[in-house]
């Protein structure tokens, strides 16, 4: 009996039991589609996280203040301590101390309510320096950013994120308008170009004021301390040198060593790595759950094949009496199981592709479906079919033709 004959016999057997075959395939179908979509979702998430972090700025290093520990042992989060100061930022900006650092932008932020245009809006208010714009790789859509002059004189000027501007002033131009932050009136001098949201939160919903103004009128308690300092390396090749310089300078200045450091220093790459690792862990977890559903589908195939062998015991006996070798019977049932697996797998891939087209608009998450994933899914479903088929097929092949013919 040729493989083609075996294949047709299996197709016949599957077609004869349409409902049952369809339900069996459904188990594999759902499993394959679930694995494809969760893996696709995970890969999409990893890619978008990496893309978002790129938006933070190029060749970026971030120094964050250490955490506080209260008397009761309660530890605050990163940046809760007041260990970083404007003086640290000034020191890191010194070419003598850190020749590989191109620009420094100390930054503090707090949540505050902006009142203007007869409405109000609560957002992050950031105090920083003019170099913030270049270090964070941002640009101005209208108006201008504040100047060093305005920084030195603590001018009450504010630059708004695109979303913040439209939330308060709508379609009207925000530049030249006035908003009140806390009790201090500010003049809006510029609006940032939009970048979309990143891992650091919505980068279009913020208000940025000169650091001195921030210290004087928005968060007077912070004094000269800052929550983080953004550093830009001269080039991506100088990034690790810049890292070393910043690390050594801060350790020396604060009189601490690596274990007692009261700050943390992260490169953009390490943030990307951390974030994608998180996304990957989540993907693996979800794909694991999906794989369990695939396993259940495989058990379904095995179950139905066992039922099939029991039910068709006379047919097996007859085929053996007419000259089917144990090998031919084994192949027939293995082919049938594999076919169920592959058919379920193909339908699952189809469902996965459709899902990948529909899901992004529902979840607002990109779903990546690669050819590799589809091929892997097909191979997996074939393997599941074969593995699930081995035991039932072996049982069928071992049946004695006499017992099989005799059974009712």
């Amino acid at each position: 009996m040729t493989w083609l004959e075996t294949l047709w016999t299996a197709v016949d057997a599957i077609r004869t039991r349409r409902m049952r075959s369809a339900l069996t395939m459904l188990g594999i179908l759902i499993g394959i589609a679930a694995v494809m979509l969760t893996v696709g979702l995970g890969q999409g998430a990893q890619q978008s996280v990496a893309a978002q972090i790129d938006k933070l700025g190029s060749n970026l290093l971030i120094v964050s203040a250490g955490s506080t520990t209260s008397l009761s042992g309660l530890r605050g989060g990163r940046g809760s301590a007041t260990t970083l100061t404007a003086a640290d930022a000034a020191m890191l900006g010194d070419r003598e101390v850190a020749p590989d650092i191109a620009a420094v932008a100390p930054s503090s932020q707090t949540s505050s309510t902006l009142v203007g245009n007869g409405t109000n809006w609560t957002t992050s208010v950031i105090g920083s320096t003019p170099s913030w714009l270049s270090v964070r790789a941002r640009s101005i859509a209208s108006g201008r950013f504040f100047t060093t002059q305005e920084l030195n004189t603590s001018e009450p000027v504010v630059v708004l994120g695109a979303e913040t501007a439209s939330d308060i002033f709508g379609a009207r131009g925000a530049v030249g308008q006035s908003v009140t932050i806390g009790s201090q009136p500010f003049t809006v001098i510029g609006v940032l170009a939009t970048v979309g949201s990143t891992v650091g939160g919505d980068q279009d919903d913020l208000a940025i004021v000169p650091m001195t103004t921030y210290a004087a009128s928005i968060s007077p308690s912070s004094g000269t301390s800052v929550s983080s300092i953004y550093l830009e390396a001269r080039s991506s090749a100088r990034l690790s040198a810049a890292y070393q310089e910043a690390d050594n300078a801060l350790l020396t200045a604060h009189g601490v060593n690596a274990t007692t450091a009261d700050f943390s220093l992260n490169s953009q790459q390490s943030i990307v790595a951390t974030a994608t690792t998180t996304a990957r862990t989540l993907t693996v977890l979800l794909a694991g759950i999906a794989a369990i559903s695939l396993l259940v589908g495989g058990i379904g195939v095995m179950n139905i094949m066992l039922v099939s062998v029991t039910e068709r015991i006379r047919e097996i006996g007859l085929r053996k009496a007419l000259g089917a070798t144990p090998g031919a019977i084994l192949r027939q049932f293995l082919t049938e199981a594999s076919l169920l697996g592959v058919a379920g797998g193909l339908l699952g891939i189809a469902l996965g592709v459709v899902g990948a087209m529909v899901l992004p608009s529902v979840l607002r998450q990109p779903v990546t479906v690669s050819t590799t994933a589809a091929l892997a899914a097909l191979v997996i479903s074939l393997v599941i079919g074969i593995v699930a088929g081995v035991y039932p097929a072996t049982r069928a092949a071992r049946l004695s033709p006499i017992d099989a013919l005799r059974s009712e």
């Binding site: 047919e315 006996g317 009496a321 007419l322 000259g323 070798t325 144990p326 031919a328 033709p401």
Partner: protein, 249 residues
Amino acid sequence: MTLPDAPSTHALPGPATRVTTEPILRLERVGKTYSTGAVTVEALRGVDLSVEAGEFVSISGPSGSGKSTLMHIIGCLDVPTTGTYRLTGEDVSRMREDQLAEIRNRRIGFVFQQFNLLPTMSAWRNVELPLVYGGVPRAERRQRALEALAKVGLADRVDHRPGELSGGQQQRVSVARALVTDPQLILADEPTGNLDSRSTEDVLNLFSDLHGQGRTIVLITHEADVAARARRATVMRDGVLSAAEGAVA
């Protein structure tokens, strides 16, 4: 026995002078014992049987006599525990399962009591089944299946499924299936057991016709009138085969 005027019918091979060719099947002191745990059942206790080409032999006997066991051994569905069984001179009594499968496929045509037709396949697809396992090309299979169906008078029923045929017609389909490989032996196990008297007559006439065309047939039955249709009748009793009393040659 090859000659109709043989002096007696017996289970032993005929006189050596008369055996010009190798018999189709020759069983010598065939024994079969089944052991289920502590119980050992001796189903066959030394059966001797020789069937020449073109003979029509019946094996009858009450249930439990061992005739089913004998049928399984003759049909190469099982192997004897002791003794030898030669099918057209070839010793099949110690063959492996896949060798037996090939022997069954090429040399034996089975007709069963239950017809054993696959209900989802049309008559001709059922008939071609042994050829599928024999590795015969598709086009030739159909041709031969249609010819076999024509021989049993079912040329106009080739596309009917078993469920659309009467019991007698179904049994004729299974006779066609037994014929399609052009086997050396047709082995019928209670072929009329599930048929009414008219269909029984029908099928028995078919066997007589096949015998007339020179086919070698071994018919297993418990019905005396069916057994009497064979040219030589043998009886199984307690695991031993002997010639039927009053059998006509």
